[in-house]
């Protein structure tokens, strides 16, 4: 818009009226150009979102499939129901574990590997990047089959390795205490490669001179990492940590294919609960309410994270 104004105001000779029509025409052209994407967003984003919001205020359920008149408006009933359900609080707790443990671990692993891949002495850099990125692009269902073998309590590789250190067998996916960590390890392994690439790109943008200057001043490797690399990476870090946290809040496929949320709902994330309620039992009203609760949780967590990192940036 400002560009239009600048251009319009340069036409000093033009009369006021003509200037207005020109600006108007350009504004109209702008609108016309924006229209397709605005329409798409309205139809495919805001439409469903508003419909979902309406659904979350109704008791749309399996009876409504045969008879649409069986849908009732129940206000905040679904939300209140969620807050009274132990299953909901269980899923919320597990989702928070996924997001607050899984996401930081994932970011840390990505950063550590990125530093290794980017190190001056590392050879075959493209090869390593490809190796670490491979899990990201591999189908999860295929990956899950392999990991189920790895976690197999009797013959699995994980228990075999732990056994070498005298650690007794663990029923990774069958024991309610171990299933959650097992899923987290899989999720981190599956996803860290993506952030790794972003970090590598960020690391390559850190000016060499800063490192050289710090080295001349006698800074150790660790000090250089803390005082040069990290501050330079701050914007990348913010982006990566926010998107990763949001992804872990929405963790679904990993527990779905590995444990179906079990054993004893110990890996049941909010999205999995939503899926189960919505598509297995067809309680679409309740599932939509869960979706909006999750949205609020993610919004809150993201705001807190942005605030924290901005404050750190200023300090």
């Amino acid at each position: 818009m400002s560009a239009t104004e600048v251009r319009a105001s340069t036409g000093v000779v033009a009369r006021g009226a003509k200037r207005a029509t020109l600006a108007g025409r350009q504004a109209r052209a702008g609108l016309l150009l924006a229209l397709p994407s605005v329409a798409l967003i309205l139809v495919f984003f805001w439409g469903p979102v508003l419909y979902g919001l309406w659904l979350s205020l109704t008791d749309f359920d399996v009876y409504a499939i045969a008879d649409p008149s069986a849908v009732r408006f129940i206000g905040l009933g679904n939300y209140l129901h969620a807050f009274s359900e132990p299953d909901f609080w269980n899923a919320l707790r597990i989702t928070l574990v996924y997001a607050l443990v899984g996401a930081p671990v994932s970011v840390a692993v990505s950063l550590a590997t990125a530093l290794l891949v980017d190190a001056k002495t590392t050879r075959w850099k493209p090869f390593f990047r490809a190796v670490y990125f491979a899990p990201v692009v591999t189908t999860l269902v295929a990956v899950a089959i392999v990991w189920r073998y790895l976690y197999q309590p009797q013959y699995g590789l994980v228990n075999a390795l732990l056994g070498k250190f005298g650690i007794p067998r663990i029923d990774w996916l069958g024991d309610p205490h171990w299933a959650l960590p097992a899923i987290l390890v899989l999720a981190v392994w599956k996803n860290f490669g993506y952030n790794l690439l972003i970090f590598v790109a960020g690391l390559q943008n850190v000016p060499r001179e800063l490192h050289e200057a710090a080295e001349l001043d006698g800074a150790s490797g660790w000090q250089r990492f803390w005082n040069v690399t990290l501050p330079e990476l701050a914007p990348v870090f913010l982006f990566v940590s926010v998107t990763t946290m949001i992804n872990y809040f929405q963790l679904f496929a990993e527990p779905y294919v590995m444990t179906q949320g079990g054993p004893l709902k110990s890996t049941n994330s909010l999205v999995l609960l939503m899926y189960e309620q919505g598509f297995r039992w067809w309680r679409l009203g309740y599932a939509a309410a869960l979706a909006f609760i999750l949205f609020a949780v993610i919004l809150g967590a993201t705001a807190v994270q942005m605030r924290l990192q901005q404050r750190e940036g200023r300090a």
């Binding site: 008791d59 359920d61 399996v62 009876y63 499939i65 045969a66 069986a70 009732r72 024991d175 309610p176 179906q260 054993p263 004893l264 598509f279 297995r280 039992w281 067809w282």
Partner: protein, 426 residues
């Protein structure tokens, strides 16, 4: 332009050919889990006998079956024929996505008399039959003969009183750390079966209210809790026991309540020394042999099928006694049709025979779409009472309250229906 005309002409030609020479009728069939894997073998024989029909079997994992079916209902992509867990019949019947089979049944080719009655009834909703039982599932006792013999029992008692006395005797011989029976506290089957035995309808008023506070269920609940109070059963769930086969072998307990798939598991997992020492017995009841629950899968025709006659042919074929026995050999699933049980292989084995006996006494669980969730609440409240977190009375009161809340929609629908009925009459 001319090229387009050419393409159009070709399309018209192909379409004309298809219309003038009807190919074989294609039936789409959905089957779940292991059944889906092996049914193809039976279907091949069906195709050989019916050259005009081709059957395309799609296998669906049990874990995804319910959502896939519901989505197909909404999306209008149901197959012609399929397998349906009989606890889902009421739901899909309510959704009007099943074809009523009564017009086929009046021809007399298949009828309730040929089947175990309790199982057949799980397919009937408000007097309309929506499915034909394919295979059956029920629960009964698996026990260690040697442990019972040492406790002075030559065979399994058949009533509640005898059952408990037997468990006391077994426990007394075992000493501390030993029990009579394993009843996982996070399973609904046993409390529900005992309730059915005691004559409880479980749900009242046409499946719109819980009936757990009524005398019949209360009696069963008291009997059930007594098992734990007296230490005849350990107060633990599935997840608190590492390996139930191992514990049974060790003699930690002498029996458990479970289903037909366990026949194979026991053969595989119990040590050789115990292979001749285990057996099965029908459920004891309040006074003499009791009922158990009627589970299993049915064959149904889905709404919107264009080939109901051909689909019914397939259902009839799969229901033939010979095919039922073959199916049992392939899967271990017990035949739903009585004639199939005349097969010597099924009756030769005493352990399987006990299932045949139990199947003459089965009752369905309440046929409401909410049942699966209600069943969860049943064991949750029982578990709380077992662990002493609440009194038996308040556990049942809580259960009824929770169930009533879940069934609120059904009450509303029923009220609306009766209001509409009144208006219709006046």
């Amino acid at each position: 332009m001319r090229r387009w005309l050419g393409v159009l002409g070709l399309v018209a030609f192909v379409a004309g050919c298809a219309a003038s020479r009807p190919g074989p009728v294609k039936l789409r069939m959905w089957a779940m889990g292991r059944e889906g894997e092996v049914v193809g073998e039976l279907v091949r024989d069906f195709e050989r006998g019916h050259p005009g029909i081709r059957v395309e079997v799609q296998q669906i994992p049990w874990t995804a079956a319910h959502e896939k079916l519901l989505t197909a209902v909404v999306g209008g992509s149901l197959p012609d024929v399929g397998q349906l867990g009989n606890s889902w019949i009421s739901e899909f019947g309510t959704l009007e996505s099943l074809v009523p089979l009564d017009p086929f049944l009046v021809r007399g080719e298949l009828s309730r008399d040929a089947y175990f009655g309790g199982i057949w009834d799980t397919n009937v909703l408000d007097g309309v039959t929506y499915g034909v039982p394919w295979y059956v599932d029920t629960r009964l006792l698996f026990y260690r003969k040697d442990m019972l013999e040492r406790a002075g029992y030559k065979s399994m008692p058949t009533d509640w009183k005898g059952w408990k006395e037997c468990l006391r005797a077994v426990k007394a011989r075992g000493g501390p750390g030993h029990y009579g029976i394993f009843l996982p506290t996070n399973e609904w089957m046993t409390p529900v079966v005992l309730g059915l035995q005691s004559g409880s309808p479980l749900l009242a008023d046409g499946g719109t209210r819980g009936a757990f506070e009524e005398a019949a269920y209360r009696r069963a609940f008291d009997y059930y809790l007594g098992m734990f109070r007296e230490g005849l059963a350990p107060a633990i769930g599935f997840n608190e026991i590492a390996n139930k086969y191992q514990e049974l072998s060790r003699g930690t307990f002498a029996m458990m309540v479970t289903g037909p798939w366990e026949l194979g598991e026991f053969t595989r997992r119990l040590p050789d020394s115990l292979q001749s020492q285990w057996s099965t017995a029908a459920m004891p009841g309040p006074d003499g042999p009791g009922v158990s629950f009627a589970g299993g899968s049915s064959l149904v025709l889905f709404h919107g099928t264009k080939h109901p006659e051909e689909a019914w042919e397939l259902v009839r074929f799969l229901s033939e006694p010979a095919q039922q026995v073959r199916f049992w050999r392939l899967t271990g699933d017990l035949p739903a049709r009585r004639e199939a049980w005349a097969d010597t292989a099924l009756t030769a084995d005493a352990r399987t025979r006990a299932f045949g006996d139990q199947l003459t006494r089965t009752e369905p669980c309440p046929m409401v779409p909410e049942w699966e969730e209600i069943a969860t609440r049943v064991y949750e409240q029982a578990d709380r009472a077992i662990r002493g977190a609440t009194s038996p009375d308040s556990a049942l009161a809580t259960l009824d309250r929770l169930v009533d809340k879940m069934l609120e929609k059904r009450r509303w629908l029923a009220a609306r229906r009766s209001a509409a009925g009144h208006r219709g009459r006046t």
